[in-house]
C-alpha cells in the first residue's frame, strides 16, 4: 500500500497540535530556506513574546484590577485554543496570548507579593533558571526525550489537569475547599507542588525537542511562532506553580 493510500485509508495523526504539520520530509522539502523554521527564529520570537508578556504584566502590576486579570485569563485561553488548533495563525494569536497572560500574571503576582514580599523575583529567577538549566541538559544530551518519556509527561500533565478540574468543580458545587492538599502548606501540599513543578519543567524538554526537530525537518516559518508559543505556555504554567510552591513554603 502506498503512503498516500495508507493516509486515505487510516487518516492522519489525531493529535490536533502536531497532526500532519510535522511531515517535514515530503511536504516542505521544496520550500526556500527563508520560508523554513529555524532555531534562531524561534528563540527570537520567544524573546518577542516574553517582552510582550513583561510589558502587560508591568501594567497589571502597577494598576492591579481584577477585571484586567480575568480579561487577560479569558483572552489568553481563547488565543491558546485558536493557536493549538490553527497553528497557521500563530503569528497573530501567539502575541495576543502573551499580552493577555501578562495581564493575568501581573495581577496574580501583585497579590502574592503583597502577602509574601520578595516572592515575585524569586519565582521569576527560579523559572528562568529552570529554563536555562534544562536547555543546557537538552542541548548536551544529558536528558534524552524518548517516546516513553513523552508518554509519562503527557499522562502526568493530563492527570494534574484532571485533578485541578475536579478541585474546581468540588469547590464550586461541593461547598468545601475541594481537594485539600492542593492548597495546603503541609508536607503533602508541598510535595504535590514539587511534583507539579517537576512535570511542568519536564514539559520544557518536550518543547525543546519539538523545536529542534521542527527546524531539522524544515517546517514552515509560522511554526517558529508556534514553537515560541508552546514554550510560553509551559513557562507561564511553571512560573505559577513555582509561585504557589514558594508561597506554601513561606506560609509555614
Amino acid at each position: 500500500m502506498s503512503r498516500h493510500q495508507a493516509l486515505d485509508t487510516f487518516g492522519r495523526s489525531g493529535n490536533p497540535v502536531m497532526g500532519n504539520k510535522f511531515d517535514g520530509d515530503a511536504q516542505f522539502r521544496d520550500m526556500p530556506i527563508s520560508q523554513k523554521m529555524t532555531l534562531e527564529g524561534t528563540v527570537n520570537k520567544t524573546g518577542i513574546l516574553l517582552l510582550l508578556c513583561f510589558a502587560t504584566a508591568a501594567v497589571s502590576w502597577n494598576i492591579p484590577n481584577p477585571i484586567l486579570m480575568f480579561t487577560g485569563m479569558g483572552v489568553g485561553l481563547i488565543a491558546a485554543i485558536i493557536t493549538i488548533f490553527k497553528p497557521t495563525m500563530a503569528s497573530s494569536t501567539a502575541p495576543v496570548y502573551a499580552l493577555a497572560q501578562g495581564l493575568f500574571l501581573g495581577g496574580i503576582t501583585v497579590m502574592f507579593e503583597a502577602q509574601y514580599p520578595g516572592i515575585a523575583i524569586q519565582a521569576i529567577g527560579l523559572t528562568f533558571g529552570t529554563l536555562a538549566s534544562l536547555l543546557v541538559c537538552y542541548k548536551t544530551g544529558i536528558i534524552k526525550p524518548t517516546e516513553n518519556f513523552r508518554l509519562m509527561i503527557v499522562s502526568a500533565t493530563a492527570g494534574i489537569a484532571l485533578l485541578y478540574m475536579v478541585n474546581i468543580l468540588m469547590t464550586m458545587f461541593g461547598g468545601g475547599s475541594g481537594i485539600g492538599f492542593i492548597h495546603s502548606n503541609g508536607l503533602m501540599g508541598i510535595g504535590f507542588s514539587l511534583f507539579v513543578v517537576g512535570i511542568a519543567a519536564l514539559n520544557l524538554v518536550l518543547d525543546f525537542d519539538f523545536i529542534e526537530q521542527g527546524s531539522e525537518n524544515g517546517l514552515p516559518k509560522h511554526m517558529e511562532w508556534f514553537g515560541a508559543f508552546s514554550l510560553m505556555v509551559t513557562l507561564v504554567w511553571l512560573y505559577l506553580e513555582i509561585l504557589r510552591l514558594l508561597a506554601k513554603i513561606r506560609s509555614n
Binding site: 495523526s13 538549566s133 536547555l135 542541548k139 534524552k144 508518554l151 499522562s155 492538599f181 525537542d209
Partner: protein
C-alpha cells in the same frame, strides 16, 4: 536593592542570556543522532495507556486527600 533581588534578579538575567545564546545552536550529536528520538508526526503510544497513567496519578492524589493527608 536587597540581597534577594540581586541574587534572583541576577539568576533571571544570566539564565535569559544563556537561553538566547545557547538556544540558537543545534543540539549535540548525542541528542540528535540516536534511534529512540520522539516521532512528532505521529503518536506512538496508545490513548488507553495515556489515560490509565493519568487516571492513576489522579486517583493516588485524590485518595490521599480523601484519607486526610495534608
Amino acid at each position: 536593592m536587597d540581597l534577594n533581588t540581586i541574587f534572583f534578579g541576577g539568576l533571571a538575567l544570566v539564565s535569559l542570556a544563556a537561553f538566547f545564546y545557547l538556544g540558537k545552536f543545534k543540539a549535540s550529536k548525542a541528542q540528535t543522532e540516536r534511534d529512540d528520538r520522539i516521532t512528532w508526526s505521529k503518536r506512538s503510544f496508545s490513548f488507553r495507556s495515556c489515560l490509565t497513567i493519568a487516571l492513576g496519578i489522579f486517583l493516588i492524589f485524590f485518595f490521599l486527600s480523601y484519607l486526610g493527608y495534608n
